[in-house]
């Protein structure tokens, strides 16, 4: 009796695990496989394995669309906005973590409570702001919006990082005559590498994948990012599924690769960030 109960239990456990793995992986594997199949194969036998591995569809995507340009735009915007965010939020997080000054708690609470505001609810004011700055349909617009979007999360992660660095190092540096800037740049910042990496990876992933504001604030190819371009490929490739799947594969792989290399950081930061939210 006890044994059968145990078998049933472990069977159920593995059914749930298998189901979880399948729903997470299958759609992506299906997209990748389909990019190697012909249109006819996709339509007639959606589950068959590709009969040959050819990269014609990938080449076609580059030839027929501005795929390279969109990838560059996405990369440019994500890298610049992540780098600037890291610098300005590390500076703010450092002084909030280390120095006692008037209004510190108020400022920190104000910055972090922004997390509660759904970013889309501010869509119109931000749209008008960007138009007023004459930045509509520019990469700069998205860089600015993405810098702002990472505020609460980066400050939270980086403040905790700076708080975990022992004060002794700063004090020792100060005793030796190191000023404010040097204490920050050559003592504290290098020791905050882990937190910077975590915040940076999360922000980069978010910025690379962002669709809503990219759609709202750009129209022409010169500033279009990959997620927005993907949506428009749907019309370009309404009858050429192979190319569509090739484009999809290229758009999703970078995110998966970054995750593969920084798995623990991504997972841990989601937890620490969620807990306080």
């Amino acid at each position: 009796m006890h044994v059968t109960k145990k078998i049933i239990k472990s069977t159920l456990v593995y059914i749930v695990l298998a189901f979880t793995a399948i729903i997470s992986l299958f759609p992506i594997i299906w997209v990748i496989f389909s990019s190697f199949k012909t249109n006819a194969q996709i339509l007639s036998s959606p589950f068959s394995l590709p009969t040959s591995i050819g990269f014609d569809a990938y080449g076609a995507v580059f030839k027929q669309t501005n795929f390279l340009l969109y990838t560059f735009n996405s990369l440019f915007i994500a890298v610049i906005s992540t780098a600037v965010s890291l610098i300005i939020y590390a500076m703010a997080a450092y002084v909030i973590a280390r120095y006692d000054f008037k209004g510190r708690n108020l400022i920190y609470s104000l910055f972090v409570v922004t997390l509660l505001v759904p970013s889309q609810s501010k869509a119109q004011p931000i749209f008008s702001l960007i138009v007023k700055f004459n930045l509509y349909d520019t990469k700069t617009a998205l860089v600015l919006v993405y810098i702002a979007a990472g505020m609460a999360m980066s400050l939270f992660i980086l403040k905790n990082t700076f708080m975990s660095i022992p004060k002794d190092f700063s004090e020792a540096a100060w005793m030796e005559g190191s000023g404010f800037l040097r204490t920050f740049f050559s003592i504290n910042l290098p020791m905050a590498k882990a937190g910077m990496a975590t915040a940076g990876i999360l922000m980069f992933l978010g910025n690379w994948n962002e669709y809503f504001f990219a759609m709202l604030l750009t129209t022409s190819p010169i500033s279009r990012t990959l997620p927005v371009a993907l949506a428009s490929f749907n019309e370009t490739y309404s009858y050429n599924y192979t190319n569509m799947f090739a484009a999809l594969t290229m758009a999703i792989l970078p995110g998966i690769l970054i995750y593969a290399f920084a798995q623990d950081q991504v997972a841990n930061s989601i937890v620490s960030y969620g807990i306080k939210g």
């Binding site: 997470s24 104000l110 910055f111 889309q120 931000i126 702001l129």
Partner: protein, 302 residues
């Protein structure tokens, strides 16, 4: 000796003043960002939601007109009903599934690390790409879902994204089982439970069920509460998986507030757009207060 001490305090005093200047210099970029992209937009949102405004002319105060129109429009009524249904599904089934996976992973059965790793993948790719993938999953003729169903019942044909009531089910399925955030949150709380608590319960002869229900789950109260907030917040702002699949249709079957907001911006009805933005904001705050109370999240667990 006293002189030396005095010198020291003198030095630290000027250093302190110098520091204060640096502190504000360091805060300045962040403060500017806050001002431009949070404070001013939120104030604009609140104020102009009570006005008729097209962006070109000055806003005209119209009181609650935008809100009244909003609540009388079928689009918005449907969006609210959908949001309520989605919130209930997210707060119950979605969180339940994520918690179940967490409880299983906590026992570390074979392959747990693999499952934990791949479960995250849908969360690291663009929601726009995810929506595009799901267009193909739900495609009527060659989609995966119909393909699987046809194995059991040949000839089955439903155009998931364009038929009522299937469209609502299809949009729900794009997120229903993808509960990795819930899983990670609950798992971290499970790992924080002192092991002696489990040992003591086992010595007392408690069954696995008893330990899970009476010890583990109550101790994960905070993370489950957080998970409910995160899951429902994601429903309030769900945009890509609708805009790129059903566009809110058929009819208003899958309408959600962000779609209404974007349409209003495109129609230059800025006051109206901001009224719907305000509703999103307020629903989020109410949700936070309710869940905080329900899960007693401000009280310490141990």
């Amino acid at each position: 000796m006293i002189l030396v001490q005095e010198c020291f305090t003198m030095k630290s005093f000027t250093a302190k003043q110098k520091n204060l200047i640096w502190i504000w210099i360091f805060l300045l970029p962040c403060l500017l960002t806050f001002l431009l992209f949070y404070l001013v937009p939120i104030l604009t949102l609140v104020c102009t939601s009570f006005t008729k405004w097209d962006g070109a002319n000055l806003p005209v105060f119209t009181g609650l007109t935008n809100y009244i129109t909003l609540f009388r429009t079928p689009d918005f009524q449907h969006a609210l009903i959908n949001l309520l249904l989605w919130s209930i599904i997210a707060g119950t089934f979605h969180v339940f599934f994520g918690t179940l996976v967490a409880l299983i992973l906590f026992k570390e059965p074979h392959g747990w690390k693999f499952v934990e790793t791949v479960f995250m993948i849908p969360n690291v790719i663009s929601m726009a790409a995810w929506a595009m993938i799901y267009r193909f999953v739900f495609n009527g003729s060659y989609g995966i879902l119909n393909g699987i169903i046809r194995i059991f019942s040949p000839g089955f044909s439903v155009n998931w994204l364009f038929e009522s009531p299937y469209a609502f089910i299809a949009v729900t399925l794009t997120w229903l089982f993808y509960a990795v955030v819930v899983t990670l949150l609950v798992l971290s709380d499970l790992k924080a439970i002192p092991p002696d608590l489990h040992e003591a319960a086992q010595i007392d002869g408690a069954s696995d069920w008893y330990i899970t229900l009476k010890i583990n789950l109550p101790l994960c109260r905070n993370s489950i509460g957080t998970a409910v907030i995160c899951s429902i917040s994601a429903r309030i702002s769900m945009y890509e998986t609708i805009a790129l699949t059903t566009r809110g249709g058929p009819g208003n079957d899958t309408m959600n507030i962000p779609l209404i907001l974007v349409n209003a911006i495109n129609d230059s009805k800025y006051g109206y757009a901001n009224a719907s933005g305000m509703v999103m904001l307020l629903i989020g705050i109410v949700l936070l207060v309710i869940v905080n109370k329900a899960f007693r999240m401000n009280e310490s667990v141990y």
